[in-house]
Amino acid sequence: MKLLVCISQTPDTTSKVSFNADGSEFNAAGVQFIMNPYDEWYALVRACELRETLGGTVVALNVGPAANETTIRKALAIGADEAVRIDSDPKSAGFVAKQIAEYAKNEAFDIIFFGKETIDHNGSEVGAMVAEYLDLPYVSYASKLDLNGSVATLERDIEGGVETLEVDLPFVVSAAKGMAEQRIPNMRGIMTARTKPLKEVPAVAYEDQAKAVQFTLPPAKAGVKLVQPDQMDELVRLLHEEAKVI
């Protein structure tokens, strides 16, 4: 079993979001960066669980600069066997997908894992792009993944429900809540992570076709308008006449 888990680095959920003066770039000053939660909690942990029962190798892959190595070491501490960093400063989902596909195309992975989306750009784009480059089936927003020989059974979240499906290895999957439970790396994991292989690979050329050019903060809320608990007719009036939502 050869499993690839693509991990992204994102600002922590609780970070205050700000941009440089002309709004062209995220202001990273004072921001805590973490492994994208869906990549870590669901994709990486499920890959490690499968490796633990079936044997094989879990490779964690990040497309990013050397500063991301703290995040990559955390993936190794949680249980990945080895890691690859494709050295670059990615500016678009298209760039990231191209790098992953170029690396994976000759590696014969059985399953390529992604989180359902990143918590910064919320795009959910890269997994489908990689699946297309590699001509592999793609299952998005999977909340359950079981393997029986070379056949996988998955459940995926759809609008207001669940779809159950089967697919043969190899395939690409994006992981949502339910696929696994978050793991806290233990001391042994943290110690062994320091000596696990982390390979640096150069990026291939790619011209961005769509990228963020301008960031703004949403308009500030006017502030909450409080209604007394015994004045629910007034709340209904406000929702109807002022907010116009009922």
Partner: protein, 319 residues
């Protein structure tokens, strides 16, 4: 041409398909070109998409599309887009659209922006379009510079509008593509609007004290024609089903009205709901962080406030 892929899961169009066609028509008008819609599968009355602005509706009535597989769907959509020289492809940012958008971008050598929430502006050959990023904490404008462009539209971002008249759908065929996904079953909640599409959502949290108290939440939702939702601790404690969980790890929604009952408003919860147009918070704790993100607030005991709100809504609806 602007080509809109209008989803018809299990043979039924949903509101998101009408939103996508309306959006596609407006993009086409801005670019001085026409708007066509593509339907995969046997949905009845595909021609109704004309009412939302499609001047042409293509339909591939092949049972191969009864179950969803991103490879067969992307192959068909790309073929129709290519044959008709589509410059912009519009999808819904749904579970289906998210599986297709990246594939189509690669296949068509197109720039992709997913989850957009407003109309693009054209500048020469490039389009600029906005979307919500950082879980609603910021807005990003993206520039798409490729010849062919792929856009997926966030649900509830535009209203379906009457921009034309029904047409008769043109049945077409596409080359066979081999599907490798075998769909075994699809389970959906009957009779309720799925959360991502709901215009009004009534959501409740730990303040409810236990699942036995949810009756009043459901009654309020029924009075409003709303869909019910819940916070993470409530889903984790199995007080409510997993698919009701809204927030960062659950579902992100953007209804017109979000009523939060007994939910403190942790940042992870806000990440899933702060794109709602209007937020009402009912909580007995005046220091609950959710009040900072709310438009209207009621500080009080939810066990008294919710039945009174329900009575007021019923009175209002009765006119």
């Amino acid at each position: 041409m602007v080509l809109v892929f209008a989803e018809s899961p299990r043979g039924q169009f949903k509101k998101s398909a009408f939103e996508a066609v309306t959006y596609g028509r407006k993009v086409a008008d801005a670019m001085g070109t026409s708007c066509a819609a593509l339907v995969l599968g046997n949905a009845a009355n595909a021609g109704q998409l004309g009412q939302y602005g499609a001047v042409k509706v293509f339909q591939v009535t092949d049972t191969a599309f009864d179950a969803f597989d991103s490879q067969t769907y992307a192959s068909a959509i790309a073929e129709v887009a290519g044959k008709n020289g589509a410059k912009v492809l519009v999808l819904s940012h749904s579970s289906t659209g998210k599986s297709l958008a990246g594939r189509l971008a690669v296949r068509l050598n197109a720039g992709l922006v997913s989850g957009v929430n407003s109309l693009p502006s054209a500048q020469g050959n490039s389009l600029k379009v906005k979307k919500s990023v950082f879980s609603g904490k910021a807005i990003a404008e993206f520039e798409i510079s490729s010849d062919v462009k792929v856009i997926s539209l966030m649900g509830n971002a535009v209203k379906p509008e009457s921009l034309g008249a029904a047409v008769s759908a043109e049945t077409i065929t596409v080359g066979a593509a081999k599907g490798r996904i075998r769909v075994k079953s699809v389970k959906t909640q009957e009779g309720t609007v799925p959360l991502p599409e709901a215009e009004i959502v009534v959501s409740a949290g730990r303040g409810m004290k236990g699942p036995e108290n949810w009756g009043m939440v459901e009654e309020l939702a029924t009075s409003l024609g709303a869909t019910t939702a819940c916070s993470r601790p409530v889903a984790d404690a199995h007080w409510r089903p997993h698919h009701e969980h809204v927030g960062q790890t659950g579902i992100a929604i953007r209804p017109n009205l979000y009523i939060a009952i007994g939910i403190s408003g942790a940042i992870q919860h806000l990440a899933g709901v702060n794109n709602s147009k209007v937020i009402v918070v009912i909580n007995k704790d005046p220091e609950a962080p959710f009040f900072k993100a709310a438009d209207y607030g009621v500080v009080g005991d939810l066990f008294e406030v919710v039945p009174q709100l329900n009575a007021a809504i019923k009175k209002f609806k009765a006119g």
